[in-house]
Symmetry: C2
Subunit: 201 residues, 2 copies
Protein backbone atom coordinates (compact mmCIF):
# COMPACT_ATOMS: atom_id res chain seq x y z
CA UNK A 1 0.00 0.00 0.00
CA UNK A 2 2.99 2.38 -0.02
CA UNK A 3 3.25 4.56 -3.09
CA UNK A 4 6.00 6.38 -4.96
CA UNK A 5 4.16 9.66 -5.35
CA UNK A 6 5.64 11.38 -2.26
CA UNK A 7 8.11 14.22 -2.82
CA UNK A 8 11.31 14.53 -0.82
CA UNK A 9 9.63 17.13 1.40
CA UNK A 10 6.56 15.03 2.09
CA UNK A 11 8.80 12.05 2.66
CA UNK A 12 10.86 13.83 5.29
CA UNK A 13 7.79 14.52 7.42
CA UNK A 14 5.95 11.27 6.99
CA UNK A 15 6.01 8.25 9.22
CA UNK A 16 4.09 5.06 8.57
CA UNK A 17 0.58 5.94 7.44
CA UNK A 18 1.32 9.65 7.50
CA UNK A 19 0.74 10.34 3.79
CA UNK A 20 -1.70 13.30 3.56
CA UNK A 21 -4.69 11.37 2.19
CA UNK A 22 -4.14 8.58 4.68
CA UNK A 23 -4.01 10.96 7.63
CA UNK A 24 -7.39 12.41 6.69
CA UNK A 25 -8.94 8.97 6.22
CA UNK A 26 -7.54 7.78 9.56
CA UNK A 27 -8.92 10.86 11.30
CA UNK A 28 -12.33 10.38 9.64
CA UNK A 29 -12.42 6.79 10.91
CA UNK A 30 -11.33 7.82 14.42
CA UNK A 31 -13.90 10.62 14.52
CA UNK A 32 -16.67 8.20 13.51
CA UNK A 33 -15.40 5.66 16.02
CA UNK A 34 -15.46 8.17 18.90
CA UNK A 35 -19.05 9.07 18.04
CA UNK A 36 -20.17 5.46 17.82
CA UNK A 37 -18.29 4.24 20.90
CA UNK A 38 -19.72 7.14 22.89
CA UNK A 39 -23.24 6.47 21.61
CA UNK A 40 -23.37 2.68 21.63
CA UNK A 41 -20.49 1.67 23.86
CA UNK A 42 -17.62 -0.59 22.95
CA UNK A 43 -19.71 -3.71 22.36
CA UNK A 44 -22.45 -1.94 20.43
CA UNK A 45 -20.19 -0.26 17.88
CA UNK A 46 -19.12 -2.71 15.17
CA UNK A 47 -16.11 -2.16 12.97
CA UNK A 48 -18.47 -2.32 10.01
CA UNK A 49 -20.69 0.43 11.46
CA UNK A 50 -17.64 2.60 12.12
CA UNK A 51 -16.51 2.17 8.52
CA UNK A 52 -20.00 3.02 7.27
CA UNK A 53 -20.17 6.18 9.43
CA UNK A 54 -16.74 7.23 8.16
CA UNK A 55 -17.75 6.52 4.54
CA UNK A 56 -14.93 4.03 3.95
CA UNK A 57 -14.61 0.33 3.21
CA UNK A 58 -14.30 -1.91 6.32
CA UNK A 59 -11.10 -3.32 4.78
CA UNK A 60 -9.54 0.10 5.15
CA UNK A 61 -10.36 0.17 8.88
CA UNK A 62 -8.71 -3.24 9.18
CA UNK A 63 -5.75 -1.96 7.22
CA UNK A 64 -5.21 1.03 9.51
CA UNK A 65 -6.12 -0.38 12.91
CA UNK A 66 -6.15 -4.18 12.71
CA UNK A 67 -9.34 -4.72 14.69
CA UNK A 68 -11.99 -2.95 16.78
CA UNK A 69 -9.73 -2.85 19.82
CA UNK A 70 -7.08 -1.17 17.71
CA UNK A 71 -9.58 1.47 16.59
CA UNK A 72 -10.64 2.05 20.18
CA UNK A 73 -7.09 2.31 21.44
CA UNK A 74 -6.39 4.99 18.84
CA UNK A 75 -9.75 6.73 19.23
CA UNK A 76 -9.23 7.01 22.99
CA UNK A 77 -5.52 7.58 22.46
CA UNK A 78 -5.33 4.67 24.88
CA UNK A 79 -1.64 3.96 25.19
CA UNK A 80 -2.05 0.35 26.31
CA UNK A 81 -3.10 -2.31 23.82
CA UNK A 82 -4.33 -5.34 25.77
CA UNK A 83 -3.93 -7.57 22.73
CA UNK A 84 -0.20 -6.83 22.81
CA UNK A 85 0.33 -6.85 26.58
CA UNK A 86 -1.78 -9.84 27.60
CA UNK A 87 0.11 -12.51 25.63
CA UNK A 88 3.34 -11.15 27.10
CA UNK A 89 1.93 -11.39 30.63
CA UNK A 90 0.46 -14.85 30.08
CA UNK A 91 3.77 -16.11 28.71
CA UNK A 92 5.39 -15.56 32.12
CA UNK A 93 5.52 -18.46 34.62
CA UNK A 94 2.45 -18.32 36.83
CA UNK A 95 4.46 -17.81 40.01
CA UNK A 96 6.05 -14.70 38.51
CA UNK A 97 2.83 -13.23 37.14
CA UNK A 98 2.58 -10.53 39.81
CA UNK A 99 6.07 -9.27 39.10
CA UNK A 100 5.57 -9.48 35.32
CA UNK A 101 2.35 -7.46 35.46
CA UNK A 102 3.90 -4.91 37.78
CA UNK A 103 6.83 -4.45 35.39
CA UNK A 104 4.67 -4.25 32.26
CA UNK A 105 2.23 -1.83 33.85
CA UNK A 106 4.89 0.39 35.40
CA UNK A 107 6.89 0.29 32.17
CA UNK A 108 3.95 1.92 30.42
CA UNK A 109 3.34 4.49 33.17
CA UNK A 110 6.99 5.40 33.62
CA UNK A 111 7.27 6.19 29.90
CA UNK A 112 6.95 10.01 29.64
CA UNK A 113 5.34 9.64 26.21
CA UNK A 114 2.64 7.23 27.34
CA UNK A 115 1.81 8.60 30.80
CA UNK A 116 0.08 11.85 29.73
CA UNK A 117 -2.64 10.15 27.64
CA UNK A 118 -3.26 7.68 30.48
CA UNK A 119 -3.65 10.53 32.95
CA UNK A 120 -5.85 12.39 30.47
CA UNK A 121 -8.06 9.34 30.13
CA UNK A 122 -8.38 8.94 33.90
CA UNK A 123 -9.11 12.65 34.29
CA UNK A 124 -11.80 12.51 31.60
CA UNK A 125 -13.38 9.48 33.22
CA UNK A 126 -13.36 11.21 36.62
CA UNK A 127 -15.22 14.25 35.35
CA UNK A 128 -17.22 13.15 32.33
CA UNK A 129 -19.85 10.42 32.33
CA UNK A 130 -19.33 9.65 28.63
CA UNK A 131 -15.62 9.18 29.10
CA UNK A 132 -16.32 7.02 32.15
CA UNK A 133 -18.75 4.94 30.08
CA UNK A 134 -16.15 4.47 27.35
CA UNK A 135 -13.51 3.45 29.83
CA UNK A 136 -15.98 1.08 31.51
CA UNK A 137 -16.85 -0.54 28.20
CA UNK A 138 -13.27 -0.85 27.17
CA UNK A 139 -11.71 -2.22 30.30
CA UNK A 140 -14.79 -4.39 30.86
CA UNK A 141 -14.90 -5.88 27.38
CA UNK A 142 -11.37 -5.69 26.08
CA UNK A 143 -9.22 -5.91 29.15
CA UNK A 144 -11.01 -7.81 31.94
CA UNK A 145 -13.10 -10.12 29.78
CA UNK A 146 -10.06 -11.10 27.75
CA UNK A 147 -7.83 -11.56 30.78
CA UNK A 148 -10.57 -13.56 32.50
CA UNK A 149 -11.06 -15.81 29.48
CA UNK A 150 -7.32 -16.48 29.19
CA UNK A 151 -6.94 -17.34 32.89
CA UNK A 152 -9.16 -18.72 35.64
CA UNK A 153 -8.96 -15.50 37.66
CA UNK A 154 -12.39 -14.14 38.71
CA UNK A 155 -13.32 -10.70 37.38
CA UNK A 156 -13.50 -9.21 40.87
CA UNK A 157 -9.87 -10.13 41.55
CA UNK A 158 -8.75 -8.74 38.18
CA UNK A 159 -10.51 -5.50 39.00
CA UNK A 160 -9.04 -5.30 42.49
CA UNK A 161 -5.58 -5.70 40.95
CA UNK A 162 -6.35 -2.97 38.41
CA UNK A 163 -7.63 -0.77 41.24
CA UNK A 164 -4.36 -1.25 43.09
CA UNK A 165 -2.33 -0.03 40.14
CA UNK A 166 -4.66 2.84 39.20
CA UNK A 167 -4.77 4.15 42.77
CA UNK A 168 -1.01 3.83 43.15
CA UNK A 169 -0.44 5.80 39.93
CA UNK A 170 -2.88 8.51 41.04
CA UNK A 171 -1.05 8.94 44.35
CA UNK A 172 2.32 8.89 42.54
CA UNK A 173 1.61 11.11 39.54
CA UNK A 174 -1.44 13.21 40.40
CA UNK A 175 -1.38 13.71 44.16
CA UNK A 176 2.42 13.19 44.13
CA UNK A 177 2.69 12.19 47.76
CA UNK A 178 6.17 11.32 49.03
CA UNK A 179 7.97 8.92 49.24
CA UNK A 180 5.76 7.29 46.60
CA UNK A 181 6.31 10.03 44.02
CA UNK A 182 10.10 9.59 44.13
CA UNK A 183 10.25 5.82 44.58
CA UNK A 184 12.13 3.91 41.88
CA UNK A 185 10.41 1.55 39.49
CA UNK A 186 12.14 -1.38 41.22
CA UNK A 187 10.89 -0.30 44.63
CA UNK A 188 7.35 -0.15 43.27
CA UNK A 189 7.63 -3.58 41.66
CA UNK A 190 8.84 -5.00 44.98
CA UNK A 191 5.96 -3.25 46.75
CA UNK A 192 3.05 -4.39 44.57
CA UNK A 193 4.22 -7.63 42.91
CA UNK A 194 3.19 -9.78 45.92
CA UNK A 195 -0.25 -8.16 45.94
CA UNK A 196 -0.78 -8.68 42.21
CA UNK A 197 0.45 -12.24 42.63
CA UNK A 198 -2.05 -12.84 45.44
CA UNK A 199 -4.92 -11.57 43.27
CA UNK A 200 -3.91 -13.12 39.96
CA UNK A 201 -1.42 -15.93 40.57
Amino acid sequence: MTSAHGTAGARASRGPGRRPGQTETREAILGAARELFAEKGYDGASLRAIARAAGVDPALVHHFFGNKEGVFVEAMRFPIDPSVLLPHILAAPRERRGETIARVFLGVWEDPGRRPPLLAMLRSAMTNERAAALLREFIGSALFARAGAATDVPQLRLQAAAGQMIGLMILRYVVRVEPLASASEDELVELVAPVLQSYLG
Copy 2:
Protein backbone atom coordinates in the same frame (compact mmCIF):
# COMPACT_ATOMS: atom_id res chain seq x y z
CA MET B 1 -22.39 28.92 74.37
CA THR B 2 -26.03 28.27 73.41
CA SER B 3 -28.32 31.26 73.73
CA ALA B 4 -32.02 31.82 74.34
CA HIS B 5 -32.53 34.40 71.63
CA GLY B 6 -33.66 31.99 68.89
CA THR B 7 -37.33 32.11 67.93
CA ALA B 8 -39.32 28.93 67.38
CA GLY B 9 -38.80 29.35 63.61
CA ALA B 10 -35.04 29.80 63.83
CA ARG B 11 -34.87 26.92 66.26
CA ALA B 12 -36.64 24.54 63.90
CA SER B 13 -33.99 25.02 61.19
CA ARG B 14 -30.90 25.10 63.32
CA GLY B 15 -28.56 22.26 64.10
CA PRO B 16 -25.47 22.46 66.29
CA GLY B 17 -23.51 25.60 65.45
CA ARG B 18 -26.11 26.68 62.93
CA ARG B 19 -27.14 29.93 64.66
CA PRO B 20 -26.96 32.78 62.07
CA GLY B 21 -23.94 34.63 63.51
CA GLN B 22 -22.09 31.37 64.09
CA THR B 23 -22.66 30.21 60.53
CA GLU B 24 -21.11 33.40 59.17
CA THR B 25 -18.13 33.19 61.49
CA ARG B 26 -17.58 29.54 60.62
CA GLU B 27 -17.72 30.35 56.93
CA ALA B 28 -15.28 33.25 57.36
CA ILE B 29 -12.84 30.92 59.11
CA LEU B 30 -13.25 28.22 56.45
CA GLY B 31 -12.77 30.76 53.65
CA ALA B 32 -9.56 32.05 55.26
CA ALA B 33 -8.42 28.46 55.85
CA ARG B 34 -8.93 27.48 52.20
CA GLU B 35 -6.89 30.51 51.08
CA LEU B 36 -4.07 29.80 53.51
CA PHE B 37 -3.97 26.02 52.95
CA ALA B 38 -3.89 26.59 49.20
CA GLU B 39 -1.16 29.23 49.50
CA LYS B 40 1.06 27.72 52.17
CA GLY B 41 0.04 24.10 52.29
CA TYR B 42 -1.19 22.17 55.29
CA ASP B 43 2.00 22.47 57.31
CA GLY B 44 2.60 26.13 56.51
CA ALA B 45 -0.83 27.39 57.57
CA SER B 46 -1.09 27.71 61.35
CA LEU B 47 -4.37 27.79 63.20
CA ARG B 48 -3.29 31.18 64.56
CA ALA B 49 -2.68 32.54 61.03
CA ILE B 50 -6.07 31.25 59.91
CA ALA B 51 -7.75 33.00 62.83
CA ARG B 52 -5.88 36.22 62.05
CA ALA B 53 -6.86 36.08 58.35
CA ALA B 54 -10.50 35.49 59.35
CA GLY B 55 -10.37 38.33 61.89
CA VAL B 56 -11.34 36.14 64.84
CA ASP B 57 -9.75 34.96 68.07
CA PRO B 58 -7.85 31.63 67.76
CA ALA B 59 -9.98 30.34 70.64
CA LEU B 60 -13.01 30.62 68.39
CA VAL B 61 -11.33 28.46 65.75
CA HIS B 62 -10.63 25.88 68.46
CA HIS B 63 -14.22 26.15 69.60
CA PHE B 64 -15.65 25.46 66.16
CA PHE B 65 -13.15 22.97 64.76
CA GLY B 66 -11.06 21.54 67.58
CA ASN B 67 -7.70 21.69 65.81
CA LYS B 68 -6.04 22.43 62.47
CA GLU B 69 -6.96 19.03 61.09
CA GLY B 70 -10.57 19.74 61.98
CA VAL B 71 -10.42 23.05 60.11
CA PHE B 72 -8.88 21.32 57.12
CA VAL B 73 -11.45 18.52 57.12
CA GLU B 74 -14.23 21.11 57.04
CA ALA B 75 -12.48 23.44 54.60
CA MET B 76 -11.97 20.57 52.16
CA ARG B 77 -15.33 19.09 53.17
CA PHE B 78 -13.17 16.06 53.79
CA PRO B 79 -15.57 13.49 55.17
CA ILE B 80 -12.92 11.41 56.90
CA ASP B 81 -11.31 12.68 60.07
CA PRO B 82 -8.09 10.71 60.65
CA SER B 83 -8.00 11.73 64.30
CA VAL B 84 -11.30 9.89 64.79
CA LEU B 85 -10.63 6.88 62.54
CA LEU B 86 -7.02 6.10 63.42
CA PRO B 87 -7.53 5.34 67.13
CA HIS B 88 -10.38 3.03 66.13
CA ILE B 89 -8.15 1.20 63.66
CA LEU B 90 -5.21 0.99 66.06
CA ALA B 91 -7.44 -0.43 68.77
CA ALA B 92 -8.02 -3.55 66.65
CA PRO B 93 -5.77 -6.60 67.15
CA ARG B 94 -2.85 -6.40 64.76
CA GLU B 95 -3.80 -9.59 62.92
CA ARG B 96 -7.22 -8.12 62.14
CA ARG B 97 -5.94 -4.73 61.06
CA GLY B 98 -6.52 -5.35 57.35
CA GLU B 99 -10.13 -6.29 57.88
CA THR B 100 -10.72 -3.40 60.31
CA ILE B 101 -9.32 -0.85 57.87
CA ALA B 102 -11.30 -2.31 54.99
CA ARG B 103 -14.52 -2.08 57.05
CA VAL B 104 -13.84 1.46 58.28
CA PHE B 105 -12.86 2.72 54.85
CA LEU B 106 -15.73 1.02 53.02
CA GLY B 107 -18.15 2.15 55.73
CA VAL B 108 -17.30 5.74 54.87
CA TRP B 109 -17.48 5.20 51.10
CA GLU B 110 -20.69 3.19 51.20
CA ASP B 111 -22.41 6.02 53.09
CA PRO B 112 -24.40 7.95 50.44
CA GLY B 113 -23.92 11.16 52.45
CA ARG B 114 -20.15 10.89 52.68
CA ARG B 115 -19.30 9.47 49.26
CA PRO B 116 -20.10 12.57 47.13
CA PRO B 117 -17.63 14.87 48.89
CA LEU B 118 -14.94 12.18 48.67
CA LEU B 119 -15.55 11.82 44.95
CA ALA B 120 -15.58 15.61 44.58
CA MET B 121 -12.26 15.83 46.35
CA LEU B 122 -10.71 13.16 44.12
CA ARG B 123 -12.14 14.84 41.02
CA SER B 124 -10.73 18.20 42.09
CA ALA B 125 -7.33 16.69 42.76
CA MET B 126 -7.36 14.98 39.34
CA THR B 127 -7.99 18.20 37.47
CA ASN B 128 -6.67 21.03 39.62
CA GLU B 129 -3.10 21.35 40.82
CA ARG B 130 -4.11 23.38 43.88
CA ALA B 131 -6.59 20.76 44.97
CA ALA B 132 -3.95 18.08 44.35
CA ALA B 133 -1.48 20.05 46.48
CA LEU B 134 -4.00 20.34 49.30
CA LEU B 135 -4.78 16.65 49.20
CA ARG B 136 -1.05 15.85 49.09
CA GLU B 137 -0.38 18.04 52.12
CA PHE B 138 -3.27 16.63 54.04
CA ILE B 139 -2.83 12.95 53.44
CA GLY B 140 0.93 13.38 53.75
CA SER B 141 0.89 15.31 57.00
CA ALA B 142 -2.31 14.33 58.71
CA LEU B 143 -3.00 10.83 57.51
CA PHE B 144 0.23 9.05 56.57
CA ALA B 145 2.56 10.81 59.00
CA ARG B 146 0.18 10.13 61.85
CA ALA B 147 -0.44 6.53 60.91
CA GLY B 148 3.31 6.02 60.45
CA ALA B 149 4.09 7.51 63.85
CA ALA B 150 1.49 5.32 65.56
CA THR B 151 2.75 2.12 63.93
CA ASP B 152 6.03 0.84 62.50
CA VAL B 153 4.62 0.64 58.97
CA PRO B 154 6.81 2.38 56.35
CA GLN B 155 5.20 5.29 54.49
CA LEU B 156 5.49 3.53 51.13
CA ARG B 157 3.39 0.61 52.38
CA LEU B 158 0.78 2.96 53.88
CA GLN B 159 0.54 4.72 50.54
CA ALA B 160 0.29 1.49 48.58
CA ALA B 161 -2.62 0.46 50.83
CA ALA B 162 -4.29 3.83 50.30
CA GLY B 163 -3.73 3.46 46.56
CA GLN B 164 -5.47 0.09 46.64
CA MET B 165 -8.56 1.55 48.25
CA ILE B 166 -8.65 4.73 46.15
CA GLY B 167 -8.29 2.80 42.89
CA LEU B 168 -10.92 0.28 43.95
CA MET B 169 -13.38 3.06 44.76
CA ILE B 170 -12.71 4.79 41.42
CA LEU B 171 -13.43 1.58 39.51
CA ARG B 172 -16.53 0.94 41.67
CA TYR B 173 -18.08 4.40 41.80
CA VAL B 174 -16.66 6.39 38.89
CA VAL B 175 -15.93 3.88 36.13
CA ARG B 176 -18.56 1.54 37.61
CA VAL B 177 -17.20 -1.62 36.07
CA GLU B 178 -19.05 -4.85 36.85
CA PRO B 179 -19.00 -7.01 38.95
CA LEU B 180 -17.12 -4.57 41.18
CA ALA B 181 -19.82 -1.89 41.04
CA SER B 182 -22.48 -4.28 42.36
CA ALA B 183 -20.35 -6.26 44.80
CA SER B 184 -21.50 -6.21 48.43
CA GLU B 185 -19.51 -4.51 51.16
CA ASP B 186 -18.72 -7.95 52.63
CA GLU B 187 -17.38 -9.22 49.31
CA LEU B 188 -15.10 -6.19 49.08
CA VAL B 189 -13.85 -6.63 52.63
CA GLU B 190 -13.04 -10.26 51.86
CA LEU B 191 -11.28 -9.16 48.66
CA VAL B 192 -9.01 -6.45 50.05
CA ALA B 193 -8.56 -7.27 53.75
CA PRO B 194 -5.69 -9.74 53.05
CA VAL B 195 -3.94 -7.14 50.91
CA LEU B 196 -4.29 -4.39 53.52
CA GLN B 197 -3.11 -6.88 56.14
CA SER B 198 -0.03 -7.71 54.05
CA TYR B 199 0.85 -4.01 53.73
CA LEU B 200 0.01 -2.87 57.25
CA GLY B 201 -0.14 -5.86 59.55
